[in-house]
Amino acid sequence: MSVMQTPGADGRFGQFGGQFVPETLVPACQELERAFTEAWNDALFREELNHLLKTYAGRPSILTECHNLGRELGIRLFLKREDLNHTGSHKINNVLGQALLAKRMGKKRIVAETGAGQHGVASATAAALLGLECKVFMGAVDMERQELNVFRMRLLGAEVVPAQSGSRTLKDAVNEAMRDWVATVESTHYCLGSVMGPHPYPYMVRQFHRVIGDEAREQCREVLGGDDPDVVVACVGGGSNAIGIFSGFVDTQARLIGVEPAGGAAVGRGVPGVVHGMKSYLMQDEEGQVQEAHSISAGLDYPGVGPEHSYLSEIGRAEYPSVTDAEVIDGFTLLARSEGIIPALECAHALAWIKRAAPEMQGQVVLMNLSGRGDKDVAQMMDVLGKK
């Protein structure tokens, strides 16, 4: 039996997950669960989604071997190129699925939260394509450091609203999106951007992203003569790109590594808690107040993590090391110079870990999920590197 199961009605992965939402939202979550299960088992829905993934998002994404960097580090390094998807990250996989589902449920409007802006851009894109109204909440701090994506969302016809409370980053954008949804639940679908939140989101978003892992496993077997990689690595904010690629390898011998930012290490430094509708590892104080994360990358600047990652950590199936902002900056420039690929700052976390751990992985095959491209980060990096 696979380690990654379909959760029962209680939405649990081991002790984690659940549906800790205001009473107002319970019927909506239950309706969503029913609608998703029905759609996922409906060949026509799957066909429609696959068609969009192929003809609009550009799937399958390719597998690239990094010969230069691999030689330098003494490993064989492959990248799963989610950066080449339409809109520039893995987020489009989930959003196309949820937007189709929203239409199927008769919703006219979607709301979304976004950190780096990639999920917001993907949501605005899908909304434009499918004729839905779209409102995106984004931390005021993130609107500044990801200005380009704010403009992209507005170009695509979405309304972007700054979240001004708390740390004014991703956590606060989620709060605002949930508040909006409580008030508009009858007409609106909450298009949540990661494998987090109340059931069925962690499960549903994983299913929409498992295409990453399914493709990668086949592609790896092709180039490796039927073998699987030794190590599979991805960055973890809420954990959607990581769960997507892990789902292809969880039942192989591969080590699974989810890399967190040092300033947002929910699995690494958190303890179980309940926020944003789920029970999961959470950075919090003795009183249960949620702590503010601090990361150079807006997409990973989050004190929680998806519940299935907490479960994979607890049972020892996946490891969750963290890297510092300085290592991330190194990883960012390293891939650019050695391979001609500018990664998103989020994925630069995975690179930073690979570089650090390479001495212990000599000769091994490492697969990394390159979840997004770095164009959105170039302005921020001009500041960071300019000041160096």
């Binding site: 205001p22 009473e23 107002t24 709060n175 508009t184 309940v274 009183e287 249960g288 107040q289």
Partner: protein, 257 residues
């Protein structure tokens, strides 16, 4: 043992009164004075908000109040302990988010409530499906868990909510978060009517009951109202005397029923 909230509210209702429950954010400047003023001006029970970093059910006013209280160093156990020094003769409930309870541990938390004279708890992010363990532990310790009923609940769900509710049934007045509105949403009395049909537990409308006139409207169907943002805003803008005056005004309006 603290006063029994449901018994107290039923007695007030039997005496022909509509029920008035003001909400005050614990740890906010002058919060205890505001509670004493409200008690002196006709409140039937008090709801004390335990500030949380991420209050998803709350609008701008209560968010701001929570933030101020946290900045001033408010902590859940600090507030609960101070409640024991209030010296008022009406029951007190706390309103808090589940992580506060989960982090402390159910038993430890419930015991501390009882020890400090708190009768009941409202946990807006702990719906029926997730509430089982807490409700068992709360029942065992003698804490009444007030359940929320929402306008979105189908007819099949309301009886389950009502059955599980202790103290009173909290009818959420509208689709949305706490905060003042220009008029009472039609959902408020519709939901209260649905609830009154299936229970004789006290039914109080909260969220979006914003002034004396709306409280009067709500009490045409409901047994009473919770006054949240309208109270907290007055406390932040003008201080505890303004809270007392406001509660007296609402009291007078609902007493005309």
């Amino acid at each position: 043992m603290p006063m029994h909230l449901e018994t107290h509210l039923r007695a007030q209702r039997s005496a022909g009164k509509k029920l008035l429950v003001p909400y005050v954010t614990g740890g906010l400047l002058n919060w205890k004075e505001a509670i004493r003023a409200a008690a002196a001006c006709g409140a039937d029970a008090i709801e004390v908000g335990i500030p949380f970093s991420d209050p998803v059910m709350d609008g701008p006013v209560i968010q701001e109040a929570s933030l101020r209280a946290l900045k001033d160093g408010a902590t859940p156990f600090g507030i609960i302990q101070e409640i024991s020094t209030l010296d008022i003769d009406i029951p007190i409930a706390v309103m808090l988010y589940y992580n506060t309870v989960f982090r402390a541990g159910h038993e430890r938390f419930a015991t501390s409530l009882v020890k400090n004279g708190v009768s009941a708890a409202i946990i807006p992010d702990l719906p029926l499906e997730e509430a089982g363990e807490w409700c068992r532990d709360a029942d065992a310790a003698g804490v009444e868990t007030i359940m929320l009923a929402a306008p979105t609940a189908p007819d099949s769900r309301l009886p389950l909510v009502v059955e599980r509710a202790r103290g009173f049934v909290y009818a959420v007045g509208l689709l949305g978060i706490t905060g003042e509105r220009d008029s009472l949403a039609s959902t408020a009395t519709v939901l209260a009517g649905r609830l009154k049909k299936i229970t004789d537990k006290p039914v109080l409308i909260g969220v979006g009951v914003s002034n004396a006139e709306q409280a009067y409207e709500a009490c045409k169907v409901a047994d009473g109202v919770i006054q949240g943002a309208s109270v907290v805003r007055r406390l932040m803008e003008s201080g505890p005397d303004a809270v007392g005056e406001y509660i007296a005004e609402v009291r007078a309006a609902i007493d005309t029923h």
